[in-house]
């Protein structure tokens, strides 16, 4: 495949899927089939893309419309984007498999498939674009798609969650838009690469500082960093489960990716090369530490498994942000590694939560149980993400945490490492509880149902990837390093 | 030609100003409506005509269509609003004898809209 096609496909295929499923809304089975085909095709394209991205040549870049760069909008196969596109597509595939057993015709008639595909398109678009405003557009698409998924059952709790989500989302989007506007006003361009060179050279300026902070806050809000995270646990708990899994895997990471690109890439966060970057990094560091510890702590008192996982999702973003805040190439590489690992893992955890609910009839851990005995295969598939999240070696979560902690020590930010360790301890406690309550405890008087095969298939895909990353961390490590180089501006 | 155009512009803007003053000064919504919509109609039409006189590139058709649309929509809007205002029980000053009261079911004046 040529570059134009390879770069278009991860967004174009799901978007076309959105269009056609919107046309076929009255036929839920056709929608499902189409959705699945779209996702599978997207994954194939994504694999072609990552091969193109790591082939050693100059990064593939396609300007839509065939215009010169920085005039039109370009997609680039520049790491970590393509790697994240692959991960997003894998998650979408797993969620689609899982959804076969969980999403009924009513939800599909209300546009479940189209909204899911739109989210995939939005996420992939954000991962590939080289244009600041285009990034904003993809965020808005994701916002609306998520809103649609949250409210799809129109239940009261969903509406409440949707209002909070929408209000936060729009405030965040406005901060981002204002930041973009100021940047455009100062630099006169929206091309990320041009911006990186242009902002790096100037003297410290109030406007640029404000723009950087506004973008930071907007994207921190999207990634759910403390103290901007309040929207997140509630909305995860109100969306239909497969959608919540996709949120966990994709939405916050999209926000973090933008944070990474803006702070590390545009504002010279690696090595603090601009006047604005040191305060930005400090801010992120404080947010990261608070997020890791407070959200891991918050997870302890929850008994709704989705809420536990929701807090854990946020806490994990804290680790990524910690990697970014260190401000070194190793730190950013750690953040990228963490991000890939965490996307897969958290989607999987949510799928597992849904399976527990399907089998035991409750989201509440105090009323769940017996999964080991009734569904041993599930127990195995669920153990992988649980242990990985707890940072048990040799699963991916251990390497991820190790990279961040190591980068923190090497980068002279021992306090970040300390916070990461404390949060890791809390996470272990939390995960052990989930396992003990949901899997070991017996359900008195109630039968535990079998988890449908489609659900297990979805989990299997993700567990396999987690295991693969854990046992063979080297390829992902290489990608993470290349990503840090690319973001730092010395990539090929 | 130019002088005529400018005069029409000025007259039109003047009418609009008068209409706005009326909107502020007249005592009830029905009377304000007379001022706003009708004086507005004439004012805007004059301004558009003025532009047609002044600007050679302006297409006559566009200008005339604009006037036509204004003439078409403003009075219908006024009728719609008038009847709705009547039905909603809007305040009506100085009308002692209201024959319409037998025909339309006028709402009691509710203080749903407090002044802020």
């Amino acid at each position: 495949m040529g570059d134009p096609l390879v770069l278009l496909a991860p967004v174009g295929i799901p978007l076309l899927g959105v269009a056609v499923t919107a046309l076929l809304r009255t036929r839920p089975r056709a929608c499902e089939a189409l959705g699945f085909v779209s996702v599978a095709a997207t994954l194939i394209a994504a694999i072609a893309l990552i091969r193109r991205a790591i082939d050693g040549g100059p990064a593939a870049l396609v300007v839509f419309g065939g215009w010169p760069q920085a005039i039109g909008i370009a997609f680039a196969a520049r790491l970590p984007g393509p790697a994240l596109v692959v991960v997003a597509s894998i998650i979408a595939l797993a969620v689609a498999l899982y959804g076969h057993a969980d999403i009924g015709p009513r939800r599909r008639r209300r546009g479940y498939d189209a909204m899911s595909l739109a989210m995939l398109a939005a996420v992939n678009g954000a991962f590939l674009t080289t244009d600041l405003f285009n990034l904003y557009v993809w965020f808005e698409l994701a916002l609306l798609a998520a809103l649609g998924l949250i409210t799809i059952d129109r239940r009261e709790a969903q509406i409440g969650g949707a209002i909070r989500y929408a209000a936060f989302g729009m405030v965040g989007a406005t901060a981002v838009l204002a930041g973009i506007g100021i940047i455009y006003g100062v630099a006169g361009t929206l091309d990320l690469e041009t911006l990186a060179t242009q902002l790096g050279s100037g003297p410290p300026s109030v406007a640029v500082a404000a723009a950087g902070t506004l973008l930071l806050c907007g994207f921190a809000l999207k990634s759910g960093l403390f103290p901007f995270h309040a929207w997140l646990p509630a909305s995860y708990a109100s969306a239909p489960l497969p959608a919540a899994a996709a949120f966990a895997g994709l939405l916050t990471k999209m926000g973090f990716y933008a944070l990474l690109v803006i702070v590390a890439g545009v504002f010279g966060g690696i090595g603090a090369t601009t006047a604005v970057s040191p305060p930005l990094l400090t801010t992120i560091g404080v947010m990261a530490a608070a997020t890791m510890i407070l959200c891991a702590l918050s997870a302890l008192a929850q008994s709704d498994i989705r809420r536990i996982l929701g807090y854990q999702v946020v806490a994990q973003v804290g680790y990524m942000a910690a990697g970014l805040a260190i401000g070194t190439r190793d730190g950013v590489a750690g953040a990228v590694f963490y991000m890939v690992h965490s996307m897969i893992l958290q989607a999987n955890l949510f799928l597992g939560a849904g399976a527990i609910r399907r089998a035991t009839g409750s989201w509440d851990l105090t009323r769940a149980g017996g999964m080991t005995r009734s569904n041993p295969l599930f127990a195995f598939l669920f153990a992988v993400p649980i242990l990985s999240l707890a940072g048990i070696p040799p699963l991916s979560g251990f390497w991820a945490k190790l990279l961040v902690i190591r980068a923190a020590f090497d980068g002279g930010s021992a306090w970040i490492a300390a916070a990461a360790l404390v949060a890791a301890m809390l996470t272990i406690v939390s995960m052990a509880t989930i396992w003990s309550e949901a899997c070991w405890k017996s359900l008195s008087g109630r039968r535990v149902r079998k988890v449908p095969g489609a659900m297990l298939a979805g989990m299997a895909v993700l567990s396999a990837v987690t295991l693969a990353i854990g046992l063979m961390p080297e390829p992902l490590l290489r990608i993470a390093r290349l990503s840090a180089d690319a973001l730092g501006g010395t990539g090929s | 030609m130019i002088v005529l155009g400018v005069a029409m512009l000025a007259l039109g803007v003047g009418f609009l100003l008068v209409a706005a003053i009326g909107l502020v000064r007249l005592p009830d919504p029905f009377q304000r409506m007379h001022s706003a919509t009708k004086a507005g109609t004439l004012g805007t039409s004059l301004i558009v005509l003025g532009v047609l006189l002044l600007d050679q590139t302006a297409r006559l058709s566009t200008g005339l269509l604009t006037i036509l649309f204004l003439l078409l929509t403003l009075p219908i809007g006024a009728q719609l609003l008038g009847r709705a205002a009547y039905l909603s029980g809007a305040r009506m000053e100085g009308v002692d004898d209201d024959p319409l009261a037998d025909v339309l079911d006028r709402a009691e004046a509710k203080p749903t809209d407090r002044p802020d």
């Binding site: 609306l144 949707a162 209002i163 209000a167 838009l177 509630a234 008994s303 | -």
Partner: protein, 126 residues
């Protein structure tokens, strides 16, 4: 010019935020709409607005002379439409909230967020 519009953006955004911080859902929605209006005006001031000519190439010419910044306008156009879509969606969600709860108060509509079983990890519980 810039002082005027900077002040306008600031005032509009401040007013919008004041509305958003209300607890009435419709006011929040209107506040968000107002906020996006403010953001659009901000984008406009970010562009080059020293020239009042519209960026439309005059008939018979093939290049634009001096004119307002077309790129900023294109961005704002996108932002306007997106803001409109979001406002309307939010209005719809507010409607659903009203239908579901009979209240426009965010406190009523928001699901309660209290942790419900803190005894779960309690060592005494078992």
């Amino acid at each position: 010019m810039n002082v005027l519009y900077a002040a306008a953006v600031a005032a509009i955004m401040a007013a919008a935020i004041y509305m958003i911080l209300s607890r009435n859902l419709v006011r929040i929605m209107l506040g968000l709409a107002l906020l996006s209006t403010g953001a659009n005006l901000l984008l406009f001031t970010a562009g080059d607005f020293s020239n009042r000519q519209p960026p439309i190439i005059a008939p018979g010419q093939d290049r634009l002379g001096d004119a307002a910044d077309p790129l900023a306008q294109a961005l704002i156009l996108t932002a306007i439409v997106i803001g409109f879509a979001l406002t309307v969606v939010l209005a719809t969600v507010v409607l659903r909230a009203w239908r579901a709860t009979g209240s426009l108060d965010a406190r009523t509509v928001e699901a309660t967020e209290q942790p419900d079983a803190p005894e779960l990890l309690d060592p005494d519980n078992g």
